[in-house]
């Protein structure tokens, strides 16, 4: 049952992945003017100074001497085989660099997500149980503000507080959680808060609404009438049934986490793929840009697939559209 659902879902992905690949392929093609010149760092005024041989080499390497559809097919067939080209800057294979930096992005996203859930789940539940009290208003205020606050500003404010004024936390740097977990947490603390803040805010709000809905249901009233302790009714009955809400929001929020990581990783010099993307953009290293966008988009598509399957598992009523 679940297996056939996964297969169906994978089939649906084929046209999407095809279009995504075209989009990523077009990143280079869309560059205004002569992309080869742009990548060599030449402006229209200085283009005369470019080494002709170097120009032709790059032009050939990127396949610009061939028609567009052929270029696309060549590119895709290479990508499928894991060949994402060479970085123009470091002269190393793009895939190698991506794999090196991918874990940092994932570790940060997971830490941010866990942090967001740890804050949001009790906040959402307590806000619903104590509806229209100061606790509720506080949670809702946090939620509204968390969504509105730009993440780069929160990052700067946290750096002012924790790094500059208190001197408690480092504002840059990274160690792998697999090597030094405590040091990882020290470095990841601020980036994870910044990355997870709006996710946490959304989740609090959604969970509160869902809990209010559940608490007004007959089964909750019945459980209360049977004399079950309030905490048992809240946690074992209502909260358990609101779990689906958490899964939904987590799925929707992955986009926010992956998209936001570009800014967060850049500010905190976090060596992930999202900051690699920006380094690629600043250096006009387009193979790196393509590779980083590709890996982030694939991650997002994959997580959505997992969330949909989890959803199906938790709620068998879900049908494929």
């Amino acid at each position: 049952m679940i297996a056939s659902y996964v297969v169906q879902r994978l089939f649906q992905l084929v046209p999407v992945l095809f279009l995504v690949s075209i989009g990523i392929f077009l990143i280079i093609q869309l560059i205004p003017g002569d992309p080869v010149m742009v990548m060599l760092g030449a402006t229209p005024e200085t283009s005369g100074n470019i080494n002709r041989q170097q120009y032709e080499e790059l032009r050939h390497q990127l396949g610009f001497d061939q028609p567009l559809p052929i270029r696309y097919l060549n590119w895709v067939s290479k990508v499928v085989r894991g060949d994402l080209g060479m970085s123009l800057k470091s002269r190393r294979p793009v895939l190698e660099t991506l794999l090196e930096r991918y874990p940092a992005t994932i570790f940060l996203a997971i830490t941010a997500l866990i942090g967001a859930v740890i804050v949001a789940v009790p906040a959402g539940i307590i806000a619903a149980v104590r509806q229209n009290t100061w606790v509720d208003y506080l949670a809702m205020g946090f939620s509204l503000w968390g969504v509105a606050m730009p993440n780069f500003w929160l990052a700067l404010m946290l750096i002012v507080l924790f790094s500059i004024n208190l001197g408690w936390l480092p504002s840059i740097g990274y160690t792998s959680p697999l090597v030094q977990p405590v040091d990882f947490l020290r470095h990841a603390f601020m980036p994870a808060i910044v990355l997870g803040a709006s996710t946490s805010a959304h989740l609090t709000r959604y969970l509160r609404a869902e809990m209010l809905e559940q608490l007004s249901q007959d089964y909750v009233r019945a459980a209360r009438a049977r004399g079950l302790p309030p905490l048992v009714v809240i946690v074992k009955h209502a909260a358990k049934n609101s779990l689906l809400a958490v899964v939904t929001v987590v799925g929707l929020q992955t986009a926010r986490l992956l998209g936001g990581s570009a800014i967060v990783e850049t500010i905190f010099s976090w060596p992930g793929v999202a900051s690699l993307l920006l380094e690629g953009i600043y250096a006009r290293d387009y193979p790196i840009v393509q590779g980083a966008v590709l890996i982030l988009a694939l991650t997002y598509v994959f997580i959505n697939l997992v969330v949909d399957v989890a959803y199906k598992f938790l709620d068998p009523r879900v049908r494929l559209e």
Binding site: W145, F152, A255
Partner: protein
Amino acid sequence: MSIKAEPAVASPPAASTPGTGTYASQLIAAWRVISRNRLALLGGFVILVGVFTAIFAPLLATHDPYEIDIVNRLRGPGPGHWLGTDVLGRDTFSRLVYGARTAFQVAIGAVALGAIAGIPLGAIAGFYGRRVDAIVMRFMDSVLAFPGQLLAIALVAALGGGLISLYIAIGVSSIPQYARIVRGVVLSQKEREYVEAARMVGESNLRVLFGEILPNCVAPIIVTLSFDFAHAILIESSLSFLGLGFPPPTASWGLMLKEISPFLELQPLSALFPGLTIAIMILGFNLFGDGLRDLFDPRHYEI
């Protein structure tokens, strides 16, 4: 995840008594509902202040936002400069005022692009169904396969800076939102009797679609517009912060934060105000959107 296809929700609940609703009385009734929602009013007020500031920036600014005054750089708030000065001694308040122009200029274009492209796409997909629907919606899915902020960054990287690139980079990611909402409404409406009736009278497909069915989408579209404005302002400031938006010395809220970030130790307050401005503006649009949604569809709650 698909957007729930809500039935026609254009008329505000308070004005739904049949036969009595002129347009003016509906507006009054809508105002009564929305004026009870204080947070939505606050949101509307913030938006008005923002628009007013953007329009009358030259009258409101106390200094020339581009005037450099190195002697008075990185000052804190004081009588000469209400909110202090930046790293080149430019007046923070005046730059924030002109920044409203930049923010609205980009947001209006980006939101318009998203809506103008998304609405007809969704309408056509819902109305013609089958293959057209499948093709359009797969396109939308592939746009959604890129997290919004990432798509904007990638597009700016490809298209280069400038106003038009910013419109496209920010607007493209919201096309699917409009398309999905309109498609949902069209799907729920196209089998209704009034549509049948319009067909019988001999109205063309286009007339039925745009004249009869689409007016039902107005309410959800207005709600989406409000949230989309918030999103556009956020993305514009993010791109500017990353140095991918307008070039210096443009007064842009995101760029102001980028310029001050290496000097946080010297004057942390300079970073406080641009961020607060962005957050309050986004909060305004979000609160207003929440209020409008409650007005149009009281049963709905936020995802």
